[in-house]
């Protein structure tokens, strides 16, 4: 069964550094998402992306965050200047369309630790 893959599985960075989290969505999917989950808390929506532009974003997704689909397979999340509170699991998800009956397929996440 095709799956969403994320790399790296764990990223450690120093405060103020830039990080890029990478995702390869399922190949025939058209809608892409980033969510994050701070340890012990719920899964939070960050951003959705379709047709090379952002569809929706949450208040968490401020100017420090950006997303890109640089080629036909990768979908990236960049944090320009990391803060301690950015430490979390970051999950990428994709779906073939945005219909109500089209479930999200999630990757297993990147654990970001900011020191």
């Amino acid at each position: 069964e095709p799956e969403v893959t994320q790399t790296p599985s764990h990223q450690v960075t120093q405060m103020g550094q830039e990080v890029i989290l990478r995702c390869v969505p399922i190949s025939n999917h058209l809608y892409f998402y980033w969510y994050r989950q701070i340890l012990g808390q719920k899964v939070e929506f960050l951003v959705s992306f379709y047709n090379n532009e952002i569809s929706e974003k949450s208040e968490i997704f401020d100017d420090q965050f950006s997303v890109e689909r640089p080629d036909g397979s990768n979908f990236t999340l960049k944090i320009r200047s990391t803060k301690l509170e950015d430490s979390a699991m970051y999950f990428c998800a994709s779906r073939p369309d945005n219909g109500a009956n089209s479930p999200l397929h999630f990757g297993n996440g990147t654990r970001l630790t900011v020191t």
Binding site: V4, Y31, Y33, Y35, K42, V43, E44, F45, S48, Y50, S55, E56, S58, M89, F91, A93, N98, G99, A100, N101, S102, P103, L104, H105, F106, G107, N108, G109, R111
Partner: protein, 111 residues
């Protein structure tokens, strides 16, 4: 916004049937109800989805009453490996570009 309400936690024992109910009083006409399962340090995993009445797959059943204001995920004969957090989601605001997770139900299965 179609907000959902679930119990924070539930306990069960191996071999029992577990029913987790989710309330979604302001569900929209076009919304589907979707359940996800999440193990620690893993991404949420799709379990089952339905619109009305009953849906069954190899993992679970989903019961949706006629008014669709609630739904019940039924896990038959749970095992220790079913210990996880279970999330109920409905489409958000008709656009389906911003699916919001609630706090979920933390299920603990005991030997």
């Amino acid at each position: 916004l179609a907000k959902t309400t679930q119990p924070i936690s539930m306990d069960s024992y191996e071999g029992q049937e577990v029913n987790i109910t989710c309330s979604h009083n302001n569900i929209a006409t076009n919304d589907y109800i979707t359940w996800y399962q999440q193990f620690p340090s893993q991404g949420p995993r799709f379990i089952i989805q339905g619109y009305k009445t009953k849906v069954t797959n190899e993992v679970a059943s989903l019961f949706i009453p006629a008014d669709r204001k609630s739904s019940t995920l039924s896990l038959p004969r749970v095992s220790l490996s079913d210990t996880a957090v279970y999330y109920c989601l409905v489409g958000d605001n008709g656009g389906y570009n911003k699916l919001i997770f609630g706090a979920g139900t933390r299920l603990a299965v005991h030997p």
